[in-house]
């Protein structure tokens, strides 16, 4: 499916979705409330059938006080991509889990929790994945400070 067509289809599913520019792939920004429902429709809609969650990560926009989640979707049937962006408040990053839509999301969300502190509602097993259970802080946040870290000499 062509990019424009893809975007208009997604917009017909979720009117609140807006185009996310400066991305070199079809990309949509959607409000966080619509995440699980929209994601399920993206997967189940025959014309879209995004059956694979390639990667799920986040970007910490420190200055704008928000964390942006990125869902990179791929359809093995139609062979097209879509990136879905969800903005969360940096102080209270809560979103509903999509682990019942794509199996792999369970672990990718755990990683995002581990690195950014994003909390996932109705996640089956939310705990740190890469760091120790008793780790303080979320290292990929821009303001993460750690006694252990060394600044590179300039």
């Amino acid at each position: 499916m062509e990019a424009n067509e893809l975007i208009s289809t997604v917009q017909s599913l979720e009117p609140a979705a807006t185009l996310r520019d400066k991305v070199d792939r079809p990309a949509m920004s959607v409000p966080k409330e619509s995440v699980p429902a929209l994601m399920r429709r993206l997967r189940d809609e025959p014309a879209l059938s995004f059956d694979m969650l390639c990667a799920h990560t986040a970007i910490d926009w420190h200055n704008e006080n928000r964390i942006e989640l990125v869902y990179q979707l791929y359809s093995t049937k139609h062979r097209h991509y879509l990136a879905v962006f969800v903005s969360l408040l940096r102080d209270m990053p809560v979103v509903t889990s999509v682990s019942d839509v794509w199996r792999i999301a369970e672990w990718q969300e755990r990683e995002v929790y581990d690195m950014f502190g994003v909390l996932y509602r109705s996640h089956p097993d939310l705990r740190r994945i890469l760091l120790d259970d008793d780790w303080k802080g979320f290292p990929l946040r821009k303001d993460y400070k750690d006694e252990f870290m060394l600044e590179a000499p300039k």
Partner: protein
């Protein structure tokens, strides 16, 4: 809105015991496999719930080699970041380099020439063969046959030599750079590659006789750890793991980069997604890679090997840029978030092994400990690639 609770591993295990504790007459028990275990290929830790020899549940515990590469990437220039990707999936270092190079070139509008792309394709395919050779040897070793390991490595050394002569390193190459390759190919490169191809063809037949046709190996793989196509896709598996489940998703075919469009090759796919299919797909991929190299090796066009001066710190325009390549293990993707500087704002690497590993939680339960080893080995995981 329900409260969100964060569990700990101990709690997770306790919960798992509670699930059917007391219901069964035999007692299930937990065993730690790893972080130091001969067949977890590094420092992967698997918490196994066993019932005698039977695996009831697998809980992978990661992070024993989590090195914070993504955090470091926010402080390194694009060219410097390339050398870190060597150390993620060190068996496909060149493909990983290529992913970063591709992302930067696409974002910064750097035009590479045909020669660069051809060299990149050939060396990446050579390393794919080397990676599969190593996997073949280690797979044999995990099944208890030690000799395939030695044979696999014996032939892998030939590729190591070819690459070392051109690149100057045996494992962590840092060869494919944004805007070209670090060195031009060595004058002997083409001759040696052709020599290798003629040397390796009969050896591959030996591989087949030694393991593929061996009745013990076949029985250990047949029907073990079936991963259906639907599950594989939903688990986000890529590479040979996905293709063995019958989904012919190969980036080299579906979105050709480099000069893959010029080369004729087949995509091997499996039928059932069991260990045998994963095994066979990799062996067949060696053949196909050899085919690709054979077609390209005599047709390396003339040109410069580097179009951007290496001292230049490339600036990438603001925005989010993706690139993906097909490594020996699956799709390696790079997401660059740039704010217009020469250092990325955020860099995310999507590694194939992370997704591939989790399929073990679906495929292993119900099989025995020995099968778990086979299944893990057939996934061909590289642990630093999972943990990053």
């Amino acid at each position: 809105m329900s409260a969100i609770t964060v569990t700990s591993l101990d709690e997770r295990i306790r919960r798992s015991i509670g699930a059917d504790g007391g219901a069964s007459t035999t007692q299930e028990y937990f065993v730690n496999m790893g972080p130091q275990h001969p067949s977890t290929h590094g420092v992967l830790r698997l918490v196994l719930k066993l019932d005698g020899e039977n695996v009831r549940e697998v809980i992978p515990v990661l992070g024993y080699i989590h090195r914070g590469v993504e955090k470091m990437g926010e402080h390194l220039s694009y060219r410097q970041f390339v050398h870190l990707t060597d150390r993620l999936d060190y068996l496909s270092a060149l493909a990983n380099n290529w992913a970063v190079a591709k992302a930067v070139e696409k974002a910064a509008n750097i035009e590479t020439n045909e020669r660069i792309e051809t060299i990149r394709t050939i060396v990446a395919e050579l390393q794919r063969i080397a990676s599969h050779q190593l996997w073949w040897g280690v797979f044999g070793m995990d099944l208890g046959a030690f000799t395939p390991f030695l044979y696999g490595f014996r032939d892998r050394e030939k590729i190591s030599d070819i690459l070392e002569e051109t690149i100057g390193a045996r494992l962590t190459m840092n060869y494919i750079q944004p805007g070209g390759v670090m060195f031009d190919i060595h004058p002997d490169f083409q001759r040696k590659v052709k020599e290798f191809l003629t040397y390796f063809r009969p050896k591959l037949e030996e591989y087949e006789t030694l393991l593929t046709q061996n009745v013990i190996v076949q029985e250990r793989m047949r029907g073990v750890g079936v991963l259906t196509a639907e599950k594989a896709v939903s688990m986000g598996a890529t590479g040979p793991v996905l293709r063995a489940s019958g989904v012919a998703h190969d980036l080299r075919r579906s979105e050709p980069y480099g000069v893959y469009a010029k080369a004729a090759f087949d995509v091997p796919v499996g039928r059932n997604g069991d260990c045998w299919d994963r095994y066979w797909v990799r062996i067949e991929e060696i053949r196909q890679s050899m085919r690709i190299i054979e077609q390209l090796i005599d047709n390396i066009p003339e040109g410069k090997h580097l179009v951007v001066k290496p001292a230049v710190r490339t600036k990438v325009p603001e925005g989010i840029h993706y690139s993906q390549v097909e490594t020996a293990r699956g799709i390696f993707g790079v997401m660059l978030v740039s704010d217009g500087k020469d250092v990325p704002y955020r860099i995310h690497v999507r590694t194939p092994n992370f997704n591939n590993l989790w399929t073990v939680t679906e495929t292993a339960p119900g099989w025995r400990v020995a099968d778990l080893v086979t299944i893990i080995s057939s996934l061909d995981i590289v642990v630093p690639d999972i943990d990053r």
